[in-house]
Amino acid sequence: MSVITVENISKQYIIDHQKGKGGTTLRDVITENLKSLIGKKTKTTITHEEFWALKDVNFSIEQGDRVGIVGHNGAGKSTMLKILSKIIQPTTGMVRIKGRVASLLEVGTGFHPELTGRENIYLNGSLLGMSRTEIRKQFDAIVAFAGVEKFLDTPVKRYSSGMYVRLGFAISAHLDPEIMIVDEVLAVGDAEFQKKSLGKMRDNSASGRTIIFVSHNLTAVQALCNKTLYFEKGRLIEQGETNQVIASYISKVSKTRLVRQWDTPKEAPGNDLVRIRRIELVPDYPDNLTHIDVRTPMTLRFEFWNQMDNANLNLSMHLNSLTGECIFNVGTQSQPYGKGLIAAECTIPGYFLNDGSYTISMMVVKDTVTPLFVMEEAITFDVEDYREGIAWYGKWPGYVRPQFPFHIKMLEPVASKQ
């Protein structure tokens, strides 16, 4: 039985562009109308730009499905959730929903800083659609789940941000709707709490509840959802089994540029001294993988023309994070070379880089001190997450994720009493 049917849903926004003005004020509207009443054409040009946050979206969701929604920022994921939650109205199309819906678009909606934890549980609970009797029944469970027993009568403005989030999530975790809509709430809170709340959501879904879950965290989507919708620029471009959709999402969105090549020195980047011929990152995919993840070893191949007679040259490779911090820098030996084509190769082992986006810059150096040419961001690639046998889905910290030998054993077992 399909509990949600979405037919031809579109949402249009009109963006006003007015020269030198921030927004439309009442004065603008009045003067515009007055002027047009007199028949005067105004000088201020207001241009309207149509923007489709969603365009012709169709899908249906069966009872008990756990549906992930993935896509870049601005792809229309949140707009879709808000339409399903009746918060915004679509411009065209129709949605049918069978069953009681609870939407969780933020943690602690409506929390008032001056009110106590107790008062806020009632406030937030009833905003999420719980009756007071329901809240009273669940009250102790909520408080225990959040672990705020001691601070029930403290205003939440005195809460730590962790307590605040825990209380907010605890309330929504005790909702009992047939359909639950969740937006990015796992992005907040500490790792332990994330694990706890994801576990709670999975328990809920085991009891036949339908869940719609938006997240940037693909690992969490993979762990929780059996089906996935992939949005891009307001359109639903793919739907189906989670693993398939996520694989194609990764291959489509990654800004991967693994190879660059120039055939003749004339058009190649460089200068009179050196010209780049080719730079390529070759992943050594294990199994049938088609994208780089934390396990994948990679080889960087680099070729350049040297146009100097007898120069002492070496290469220096920088691997940078997306934010531009250098994660490591490796160099070759410096050796004398004559004119000609020179090739170099460097291997980055698997189980070394953490998941994330990286760029590689290459530098040709003379006499170990003088950079002749720097090729910035020559290669761009993403490393995807991969975990096995780990029930935690938070962002793995650190720039590198090496697997060093790390031994653990029982030193002195204590005999258990019978």
Partner: protein, 279 residues
């Protein structure tokens, strides 16, 4: 909970809007309690403020209008009692009106995150003004005892005028609340409207003074103000026949309020679905 089907379509207002509103009455109550309990948090004097404000306003007005300007009260009515009656109902109307007008924008964090019938916000917003009103009314009773002023059967009509003042605040507030979402100019306009209203309404003076000047060109306009009939009626219910009362003016007030309320409600309902896009 039986399964019910919800259909979301452009331009479709909830078919069961009023039933939905009723189902959300607990939310209405909780939002009201939120406003009431937040009102005097972290104040040293707390709820005493509800008493201090009408009391000082009354004392100042007695000083300015009675002692200095020598405005006459209705015959047989102590001037402070007449003024406090006016202040009580006017403050009720004006704070309710202000709260309603700001209700949607003040709750913008809710509008963008949860669905509920948006009328809940203005309705729950009046709770605070009603609490203040009760305090002010209590003050009036104390003052009436002080003047040994005994009300008569007119007092039974008091609830009707309270409801009427409330309806008037919705009649104007709902419209402003909806416009306020798009144009924050309303936030600037409201205190000004309230200030002007304080003087064009019979608070410091009795409508009798205007009735005596019926030949002046502006006199007919005075009675067009719907609050005139309501304030006069409220005082009449408290003070009895000695207070000025004009049934014709009350009738005019009631009809204006009803028409405005219907229009405002229609406007609010029409706009509420797009609040989230404009807020």
């Amino acid at each position: 909970m039986q399964t019910h089907e919800v259909i979301i379509e452009p331009g479709r207002s909830e078919r069961h809007y009023w039933a939905d509103l009723w189902r959300n009455r607990e939310l209405m109550y909780i939002l009201s309690m939120r406003d009431v309990s937040v009102r005097y948090k972290q104040t040293a004097l707390g709820t005493a403020w509800g008493l201090i404000r009408p009391l000082t306003t009354m004392l100042i007005m007695v000083f300015v209008f009675s002692k200095i300007a020598k405005l006459p009260p209705d015959p047989g009515v102590p001037y402070p009692l007449m003024v406090l009656g006016g202040i009580t109902v006017w403050t009720f109307f004006s704070t309710a009106f202000t709260q309603i007008s700001n209700s949607v924008t003040l709750n913008s964090n809710l509008v963008t995150k949860v669905y509920f019938p948006r009328l809940i916000m203005p309705i729950s917003a009046v709770a605070v003004s009603f609490v203040d009103f009760l305090v002010s009314l209590g003050l009036f009773i104390l003052l009436a005892i002080w003047y040994q002023f005994i009300p008569d059967w007119h007092l039974l009509l008091l609830p009707a005028f309270i409801v009427l003042a409330l309806m008037a605040s919705f009649a104007f507030g709902l419209f402003f609340a909806a416009v306020n979402v798009r144009f924050r100019d309303i936030g600037q306009l409201i205190p000004f409207v309230v200030q002007v209203g304080f003087y064009v309404c019979p608070i410091a003076y009795s409508s009798r003074l205007v009735a005596d000047k019926a030949n002046e060109w502006w006199a007919p306009f005075y009675w067009l103000n719907p609050m005139v009939g309501i304030i006069d009626g409220f005082r009449w219910a408290l003070l009895g026949e000695r207070a000025y009362f004009n049934p014709k003016s009350l009738l005019l007030s009631v009809s204006i309020v009803f028409v405005c309320l219907a229009l405002s409600l229609y406007f609010f309902r029409k706009r509420e679905n797009t609040f989230v896009d404009d807020i």
